[in-house]
């Protein structure tokens, strides 16, 4: 678990393993298909209303709903990735996995790939839904939103690594950590308001959060219809930084949990 070897086949085996729960437990499909579907419908109706109106309130509303849709998407990935890990903890299977030749990096990679596949299914479903209802809306924001989604997915995954690391350190009493992490980051991710409304300290902190660049870009795009590539570039750099830090934190938590024996309590 601690050596630096990496086996793609073990990583794929774990990805398949984490996807079995979705296959065998249809209620998990509601999380990734039904909830986002209603949110995207809400967004679509408001977007259509705005395009037929000069009303400033509606325009602001569109920005908020866009923030809501993308934020919920982000938050769901964090929770789903942690839930995948918790499935094995609750089943009492995690120890069985940890005594195989699997390394930390393979475990993280397996968790991430399973989440990405689930989100791709979700995105495909939502895209078809938008295409069926408002094809013009899809061409308006469809392609640009893929770049934002990619940043949000990877940022959510890095945040879920921190969540899983905390569960490893402090046990299953922290199983709610996904919601807590999402809600605490939400303040400085600026999903529903521009960065400028934040007090000075939080304003500075928001620059460290890749999601804040995404939400700033979304609001700008809804007004100007022009994608801000420099914001995307900065978000990508911050994302890389965050991913590396979260993996290092996971490794630290794992080693610590071996020393304190808390790894055997999950």
């Amino acid at each position: 678990m601690f050596s630096h070897t990496f086996s793609p086949s073990r990583c794929l085996a774990l990805t398949k393993h984490f996807l079995y729960a979705m296959k065998r437990n249809p209620t998990r499909l509601i999380e990734i298909l039904v909830w986002p579907a209603f949110e995207i419908l809400l967004f679509s109706f408001l977007a259509v209303a705005v395009t037929h109106s000069e009303d400033q309130v509606l325009s602001t509303g569109l920005g908020i709903i866009a923030g809501l849709v993308f934020w919920n998407f982000f938050s769901r990935i964090v929770q789903e990735t942690i839930a995948q890990f918790m499935d094995d903890v609750i089943s009492k299977n995690m120890q069985n996995i940890l005594v195989t030749p699997v390394t930390v990096y393979e475990l993280l990679c397996g968790l991430s790939l399973a989440s990405i596949i689930k989100m791709m299914i979700s995105i495909l479903f939502l895209s078809l839904l938008i295409l069926g209802i408002y094809p013009s809306l899809f061409t308006l924001i469809g392609v640009v939103s893929l770049a934002w989604i990619a940043i949000l997915v990877l940022y959510a995954i890095s945040l879920s690594f921190v969540g899983v690391a905390l569960i490893i350190l402090f046990g299953t009493r922290l199983s709610f950590i996904g919601s807590l992490l999402s809600i605490s980051i939400q303040v400085i991710a600026c999903a529903f308001y521009p960065r400028t409304v934040l007090p000075p300290v939080l304003y500075q902190l928001s620059f460290l959060v890749p999601a804040s660049y995404v939400f700033e870009s979304i609001r700008e795009f809804l007004v100007t219809s022009v994608a801000n590539t420099s914001e995307f570039l900065i978000a990508s750099i911050m994302l890389l930084f965050t991913l590396v830090l979260s993996i290092l934190f996971f490794q630290f938590a794992f080693d610590k949990a071996r020393s304190t024996a808390s790894l055997t309590k999950i």
Binding site: F2, T5, R10, H17, S91, K92, N96, T264
Partner: protein, 244 residues
């Protein structure tokens, strides 16, 4: 058990070689001394029984041997290599089953065993899984695509044993695995362990049941307050001295 024969042919020639060694292992957890200076050697083809009162440190010792817990003192050597330095590689030669663990609840028996077959990178794992399923009489449950959540404790232990034997491990660690097993399966397990022994495979068998420790194992180590207090070929006489 045809698959058990294949990998072990080269090992059969060797004998009395130390395959796993616990060297001055010590561990404190939350300020409580769990293990103190635990030394022992597991040889090829040997079955060691590990007994002791509840809280004597048996499971903690197994967890240290698997690298799940890092010892405060000492080290574990597997195949003459430090487990801490090469854990991922060395775990290929080990496996573990515990009555207190289960495989993934929402997945079926076959899906779970396939996952572990891939994690241990076993060539043609489907065939090995089929043989083990037949050996532990799980065929009907597999055909019915039963999920682990729906298995009884005994059935779940049999699935755990399939998982533990999947990579034909030279070192098998069993933690109270007979707790939920019926007598017929216990007899079957004894036959399997004896068969493995002839192939040069070793086992550490943790149990509270004195008759099992005596009948399954070449020697029995009794842990008392974190130390190996007794090593004997058979537990006999007044058992109080071993446990209290």
């Amino acid at each position: 058990m045809p698959f058990l024969d294949k990998q072990s042919k080269s090992r059969r020639k060797k004998s009395n070689q130390v395959i796993l060694e616990s060297i001055h292992i010590g561990k404190c957890i939350a300020g409580r001394v769990i293990l103190t200076d635990v030394n022992f050697k597991l040889k090829e083809g040997e079955i060691i029984g590990l007994g002791g009162a509840t809280g004597s440190g048996k499971t903690t010792l197994l967890h240290i041997l698997l690298g799940l817990i890092k010892p405060d003192n000492g080290k574990v050597e597997v195949l003459k290599q430090d487990l801490e330095l090469n854990r991922s590689q060395l775990l290929r030669h080990m496996n573990f089953a515990s009555s207190s663990l289960k495989l993934s609840g929402y997945a079926t028996i076959m899906e779970n065993l396939s996952t572990f077959g891939e994690l241990y990178q076993i060539a043609n794992h489907s065939q090995k899984i089929s043989e083990l399923i037949s050996l532990f009489e799980l065929t009907d449950l597999v055909k019915a695509k039963t999920k682990i959540y729906n298995l009884s404790a005994g059935e779940s232990s049999r699935v755990n044993l399939c998982k533990a034997l999947l990579n034909d491990p030279p070192i098998l660690l069993l933690d109270e695995i007979t707790a939920h097993l019926d007598p017929l399966t216990v007899t079957q397990l004894k036959k399997i362990l004896n068969h493995r022994k002839k192939q040069g495979h070793s086992c550490i068998f943790v149990s509270h049941k004195v008759d099992e420790l005596n009948s399954f194992c070449d020697r029995v180590m009794m842990l008392k307050q974190g130390k190996i207090k007794y090593q004997t070929s058979k537990l006999k006489g007044n058992l109080n001295k071993y446990y209290r």
